[in-house]
Amino acid sequence: MRPWGTDGGDEFMRNRSQAIQRLLPFISLALLFVVLSIASPYFLTATNLSSVIRQTAVINIMALGMTLVIVSGGIDLSVGSILAFSGVIGTMTMVGTGSVPLGIGVGIVCGTLWGCANGLMISMLRIPPFIVTLGTLGIVRGLTLVISGGLPVVGLPKEHGFLGEGTIGPAPFVLVVLVGCAVLTHFALHGTKLGRYTYAIGSNEAAAVYAGIPVARYKVAIYAICGLLTGVAGMIETSRLMTGQPTAGVSYELQVIAAVVIGGGSLTGGAGTVIGTLIGAFIMGLLSNGSDLLGVNPYWQQVIIGAIIILAVALDEARKRRFST
C-alpha cells in the first residue's frame, strides 16, 4: 500500500477501485476521526488532540526510522532498548554538565551508534536482522540497566521539559519535531539515492548487489538512521517523563513495527512509505485515545489493536493478489 508513494505515482489513478484500496489506510484514519468526534464530546478539543500528538510522537518518530529498515527488507527489534539507552545516557550528560542541548545531542549520537552497530553486524557477519537485533535488544537493555544501576536518572534541568511538553503558538513542540523528521525521512526515502537503494535492496537484494550497489554500506546507513530517530524519540520520552528511565520503551518495537505494517510496509521488503507509516501510527494512537475517552477497558484495547494489525495486512494481501495477476 502506497497512498502517496512517489514510486509508482502515475499508475495510481489508473483504476478507481485500486485507488480506493491504496487510500484505505487514510480512509480508515479519517473515518476513525469522524466516528470519535461524534461519539465523544471531548475528542475534538485542542487539549485532547495535542495530548494525542504528544502520546504518539515517540512511536511515530521511531516508526519513521523503522520504515526505512522494513522497506529494505530488514527489521529492528532493538529500538525499544536503544530508546532507553539514549534517554539514560542523554539525561546523565544533562545532569552532569547542566547543558540540555549537549544531553540531547549525546542521546541522539548514542542511538545512531547502536544503529550503526546493528547495521555492521547484519552486513559484515551476514546474520539475519531479526537475530542481530534480538541480540542487541537484550544487550542494549542490559547495558542501560548496568550503567544506570537500574535507577531512573533524576534532577533534569527544567528547560528540558520544553522538548516534550512545550508549545509553539497553539501547536505542541513535538509536532514540529515530528513533522520535521517526517519531511526529512520522506525526502530521504523518495528523493535520494539512499532511498532508491533502500527500495532496491528490499525489492531484490541479489539484483541490487548485481547492479553494483555497495549494499553493505547502505544497510549500515539505513540502520544508523533508524537508530538516530530512535535517539530523538528517546530524548522526547525523557522530556515527557522528566526522568531518564532505564526501563523505558519496553515492547515499543512491536507498536513501531505495527505502525509501519498498518501503513502498508511489507515485512518482505520493497514496499512502505513515510506517509503510510504516519497514518498507521495515528490510527493506533486514535484507537487508544478513543478507547480511553469512551471508557473501553484497556485490556480490550490490546485486543483491538492486535486485530487491526491482522486486518490491515489481510486487506493489503488481498489487494496485491487482485492486482498482481
Binding site: T6, D7, G8, G9, D10, E11, G191, T192, K193, L194, G195, R196, Y197, Y199, A200, S203, N204, A206, A207, A208, V209, Y210, A211, G212, I213, P214, G270, A271, S324
Partner: protein, 484 residues
C-alpha cells in the same frame, strides 16, 4: 520389453515439447537417452514416471496399455525416477529420507528402528558406503545420489529412470554411480539413463536413443554408433539465421582474464562466445570476472590495468557489467518501475548531491524506452508486468546507461521470443561497434555461431578449445562433450 513408448506427444500451452517420442526399454538393459537442452528427454521420462500426462501416443508396460495420473501409480508398477539430489530433505537422516512420505509406524509412533534396519539392509545388499543414521546434509553429491537410488530401491523397482545423475559429480564420484547403475542392471532392472555427457555412453550404455526437438531421431545399440554420429543426430538441423553480424576489426585488449582453467582476452569491438554443457563452468567464469565469487589466484585486467575485483560493486567500478542468466532473481528489482531499474546501476548520473533529479531520471528512462523499443505503457510500469524480452531490454538499458567498457552476457536469449532475440543481438552488435568488449555465454549453439567472433569451449571448469567463427555445431559439441 518392459516399456514401449510410441508417438508420444505433449504440449505446454502453445509449446510442443514432444511431437513423436519413441523408446523401448528391455529388462537388464541400460538405455541412454540423449539430446540437447529442450529436446524433450525430461518431458518423456516424466510421462513414464507419472509426473506428467501425455496428450497422445501409446505407452505399454509389459505389453499392456498404461496411463498414470500421479507418480504413485507408476511406483505401484515398479517404475521409479531417481531425481537429482535437490529433492532430499538435508536435515533428515538417510533412512528418514528413504522413507519420507511413506513412514512405517508402530501404533502411533514412528518405527524409527525398523526403518533404519530396512534402510541398512538396502545399503548392505548393494554395498553402498553409507550409514542409515547419517544426516544427508553432510553427504557428498554422489552419496546424495545414492540416497535417491535407495528411495527408489525401497519400492523394489522393475525400472529406474536416472535424470542426469552425474551432472554435478566429479569423475571419481561419477565412477561410483556407474558401478551402481551396472550392478542394478545385472539384477535385472531396466534402466533409462538421461545424460548430457556423451563420454559416458561407452562406459554405461547398452542402447542409445537420441531425441531432437521433441522427436526420436535415432535409436540403436550403443556399440553400433560413434560419438560423432550421435552429435550429428543431436544437432543435425538447419536453423534459419536470425542474425548475421559483420566481423569488426578488433581494437585494443579491454579484458584480460587469467585464472585457473580460464585464460581469455577480449578486445574492443569483439564478441567472444563461451560454449559448454550445463555444469561446465560457464556461468562461474562470469561470476568470477564480476566479483561474485572472486578468484583466489590469477588476475583480471581491464584496459591493461590489473584490478582486484572482490565484489560486483568493484567490478562495475572497474567497468564490467553482467547481464545475468536469471532476470527474476538477479537481474531486476522486479517490483520496482522500469524507470528505477534502468537507472539503478548509475544513480550518480541522475543525482545531484545524493538527491534524485526526478525529471532527468524520467527522461533517461524514456529515452531508453524509445531507443530499445521497449513495449511498456510508460516507464512507471513495474518490471514484473513485462514480457521476458522487454525485461531483458530493461536489464540491457541499465548497463547501457552505466556505459561500462566490458559487458558479460550470460544466456542473453533465455526465455525471450525470436523477434526479441534478434533485437538483443542487434544491441550487442551496437555495443561492440561502440568499442565495448563483449562476452556471451550461451547454450544455444546456432546463436553463438551467428553472433560471436570466436568461441571458447568449456568442459569441467576449464577452457578446452578456442574455435573460429566458421566452426560448426558438431565441432563445438565434440569438444564440449568428449574432449580430445
Amino acid at each position: 520389453m518392459l516399456l514401449e513408448l510410441s508417438s508420444i506427444r505433449k504440449s505446454f500451452g502453445g509449446v510442443r515439447a514432444l511431437r513423436d517420442g519413441n523408446l523401448s526399454v528391455a529388462p537388464r538393459q541400460v538405455h541412454a537417452l540423449v539430446g540437447e537442452n529442450g529436446a524433450g528427454k525430461s518431458t518423456l521420462m516424466k510421462i513414464v514416471a507419472g509426473m506428467l500426462r501425455r496428450d497422445g501416443g501409446d505407452m505399454l508396460w509389459k505389453g499392456r496399455v498404461v496411463d498414470f495420473a500421479r507418480p504413485a501409480e507408476a511406483h505401484a508398477l515398479g517404475i521409479h525416477m531417481v531425481h537429482q539430489e535437490s529433492l532430499l530433505a538435508p536435515h533428515l537422516t538417510v533412512s528418514e529420507n528413504v522413507f519420507l512420505g511413506r513412514e512405517t509406524r508402530r501404533g502411533a509412533l514412528l518405527d524409527r528402528v525398523g526403518m533404519e534396519r530396512a534402510t541398512a539392509r538396502i545399503l548392505e545388499s548393494h554395498h553402498f558406503p553409507l550409514q542409515a543414521n547419517w544426516t544427508v546434509e553432510k553427504l557428498s553429491p554422489a552419496q546424495k545420489q545414492i540416497v535417491e537410488i535407495c528411495r527408489a530401491l525401497h519400492g523394489e523397482p522393475s525400472m529406474l529412470i536416472f535424470d542426469e545423475p552425474t551432472s554435478s559429480l566429479s569423475d571419481t564420484e561419477a565412477a561410483e554411480v556407474f558401478r551402481t547403475v551396472r550392478e542394478l542392471r545385472d539384477r535385472g532392472i531396466g534402466i533409462v539413463y538421461i545424460t548430457h555427457r556423451l563420454g559416458e555412453l561407452d562406459e554405461i550404455a547398452d542402447d542409445v536413443t537420441v531425441l531432437r526437438d521433441g522427436e526420436t531421431v535415432h535409436s540403436c545399440p550403443a556399440d553400433e554408433v560413434s560419438t560423432r554420429e550421435i552429435v550429428h543426430h543431436m544437432v543435425g538441423r538447419d536453423v534459419a539465421a536470425i542474425y548475421d553480424r559483420d566481423k569488426l576489426a578488433p581494437g585494443e585488449v579491454r579484458l584480460k582474464v587469467d585464472v585457473p582453467g580460464v585464460a581469455l582476452e577480449v578486445r574492443a569491438g569483439e564478441i567472444v562466445g563461451i560454449a559448454g554443457l550445463m555444469g561446465a563452468g560457464r556461468t562461474e567464469v562470469c561470476e568470477t570476472i564480476f566479483g561474485i565469487t572472486p578468484a583466489k589466484e590469477g588476475s583480471i585486467a581491464v584496459n591493461g590495468v590489473e584490478r582486484n575485483i572482490q565484489s560486483p560493486h568493484g567490478a562495475v567500478e572497474a567497468g564490467i557489467a553482467l547481464v545475468t542468466e536469471d532476470r527474476q532473481r538477479t537481474g531486476l528489482a522486479i517490483k520496482l518501475p522500469v524507470r528505477t531499474n534502468v537507472t539503478l546501476a548509475n544513480m550518480e548520473a541522475v543525482c545531484t548531491g545524493g538527491v534524485v533529479q526526478a525529471g532527468k531520471e524520467r527522461r533517461v528512462a524514456e529515452d531508453y524506452q524509445t531507443r530499445l523499443r521497449m513495449q511498456v505503457d510508460n516507464v512507471e510500469q513495474s518490471a514484473w508486468q513485462l514480457s521476458g524480452g522487454n525485461q531483458q531490454k530493461v536489464v540491457i538499458a541499465k548497463w547501457l546507461f552505466r556505459d561500462t567498457d566490458i559487458v558479460l552476457f550470460d544466456e542473453p536469449t533465455r526465455g525471450i521470443d525470436v523477434g526479441a532475440k534478434a533485437e538483443v543481438f542487434a544491441l550487442m552488435d551496437e555495443m561492440a561497434r561502440e568499442g565495448k568488449a563483449i562476452v556471451m555465454v550461451s547454450s544455444e549453439l546456432p546463436e553463438l555461431l551467428q553472433v560471436a567472433d570466436r568461441i571458447l569451449v568449456m568442459r569441467e571448469g576449464s577452457v578446452v578449445a578456442e574455435l573460429p567463427r566458421e566452426t560448426t555445431q558438431q565441432e563445438i559439441m565434440h569438444h564440449a562433450a568428449v574432449g580430445h
